[in-house]
């Protein structure tokens, strides 16, 4: 990261020596990331976040295919997409009048392939959006099936690989792909947008010549270099690290319902991301649970309403029909030790018991 700051500080659009050096490093990073994500370097642009990548993907793909003559059209997204996808779709509804079909999921959080396919086949579908895997419960999505129906009906497919990139191979057949470097262990402030050759896409924001005319503004070259370095490192160590994390998540999935009364683990036990597990404990305040676990040294997230700024429960858990209160999401970084998982599983039952007594008191 420090070498990256020394070498990559200059503006890659400039012709002086430091600028050329930054440009060379940026293009090397692009080639490395493109190879990991299985696309061509000229299809790939770096953005300032995963959210920006999603906004550019959704708005650019839809606006390229909207026309005054044929109307604002229609988009499809599963109900458990990342909020950036759903918010971009909502934005298109409000600003252009585009219709949006939100398609359902089963109890494990897996998109209903039949409902998704039926929505894609509606008239004037301009874009379909399906994540590779769910970011909250880890369930893998039926991307291959979505690719089939989208190709058959000539509808571009956005695959948001934010939760899985760097952990699992990127599924084939997408028209647009998005990811976020901090999710694979890279720095904050780097996202990835890939637009497959032949996919119609138009700049949704005022023109700028950066990143193949796709992303406005001077790219953060040092952060991009660090992101590429961590992705290629993740790629090399992926198999060993994933096997270890998968086994640890299996332990958590088995231990929580066995040791915490009235608890339920969410998501698919097998077809899932290696490192994420989410569970809910009945009769527990999610905020109190997160606070107590933090005090014990464990940083976990929660999909409970009381933890959200909006006071709304997680839209993912709601779409699954899953219990939203007392919710804990554990995301294991690469290299998590078996001892720390044992510690977590030891302190969890007494903490849940304590919070339960406080809430009923």
């Amino acid at each position: 990261m420090l070498t990256a700051l020394d070498d990559g500080w200059a503006d890659p659009a400039r012709l002086y020596r430091e600028g050329r050096r930054a440009q060379l490093l940026l293009e090397q990073a692009r080639e490395a990331v493109a190879a990991e994500l299985r696309c061509r370097p000229d299809e790939l642009s770096f953005t300032s976040s995963g959210t920006q990548a999603v906004q550019l993907a959704v708005l650019g793909a839809v606006q390229a295919r909207q026309s005054a003559a044929r109307g604002p059209g229609h988009l499809v997204a599963s109900a458990v997409e990342h909020s950036s996808v759903l918010n971009a779709a909502d934005w298109l509804t409000r600003t252009t009048g585009a219709a949006v079909s939100i398609t359902g999921v089963d109890r494990l959080g897996r998109a209903d392939g039949g409902e998704f396919a039926a929505a894609v086949q509606r008239e004037r579908t301009l874009l379909a959006c399906l994540q590779s895997a769910n970011h909250e419960v880890g369930t893998l999505q039926p991307v291959e099936q979505a690719v089939g129906v989208c190709q058959e009906h000539r509808v571009p497919l956005l695959v948001d690989a934010g939760a899985s990139a760097g952990r699992l191979p990127v599924p084939a057949g997408w028209s647009l792909l998005t990811a976020s470097a901090h999710k694979w262990g890279g720095p904050a402030g780097v996202g990835v947008l890939a637009v497959r050759k032949g996919t119609r896409w138009r700049e949704p924001f005022p023109a700028d010549d950066r990143e193949n005319h796709r992303v406005p503004g001077f790219p953060n070259v040092p952060a991009v270099l660090a992101a590429a370095a961590s992705l290629t490192a993740t790629g090399r160590e992926r198999a060993a690290s994933d096997t270890a994390l998968r086994a640890l998540v299996d332990r958590i999935r088995a231990a929580v319902p066995a040791t915490v009364p009235d608890s339920v683990v969410h998501g698919d036990p097998d077809a899932r991301l290696p490192h994420i597990v989410t569970f809910s404990c009945l009769y527990v305040d999610g905020e109190a649970l997160v606070t107590e676990l933090d005090r014990a040294g464990f940083s976990v997230s929660s999909g409970s309403a009381c933890v959200a700024d909006t006071r709304q429960p997680s839209h993912v858990l709601a779409a699954m029909g899953a219990l939203t209160h007392g919710n804990v999401r554990v995301s294991l970084p690469s290299g998590t030790s078996a001892e720390s998982v044992t510690q977590f599983l030891d302190i969890l039952p007494p903490i849940v018991e304590k919070v339960r007594q406080e809430v009923t008191a």
Binding site: L282, Y283, D285, C306, Q312, T324, H325, V359
Partner: protein
């Protein structure tokens, strides 16, 4: 197409109570009605809309329906949830 249902044997007023209090009240009080009778829970916490049916599924109680409460000026929208004690 909601089929008509009989009047609830018990109404629990959890309006203004945050998650998970409405669920705790239901779990405590469902034993106060006979098996086969209905309990109505009134709640306005957004999480209740998901958590009442989810609790019924986890506890094998029968979730009957959700109905919007008539809007009260200045108050949050609330719901009436009907649950049938099944054991």
């Amino acid at each position: 197409m909601t089929r008509p249902v009989e009047a609830p044997a018990l109404t629990i007023d959890a309006l203004g109570k945050k998650c998970p209090i409405p669920i705790i009240m239901l779990a405590e009080q469902i034993r106060n009605v006979r098996i086969g009778q209905l309990v109505e829970v009134l709640a306005d916490d957004p999480a209740a809309k998901t958590d009442l049916p989810a609790w019924c599924a986890l506890k094998s109680q029968e979730f009957v329906l959700t109905a919007d409460l008539a809007p009260v000026p200045g108050a949050r929208t609330g719901w009436s949830f009907l649950v049938r004690r099944s054991y």
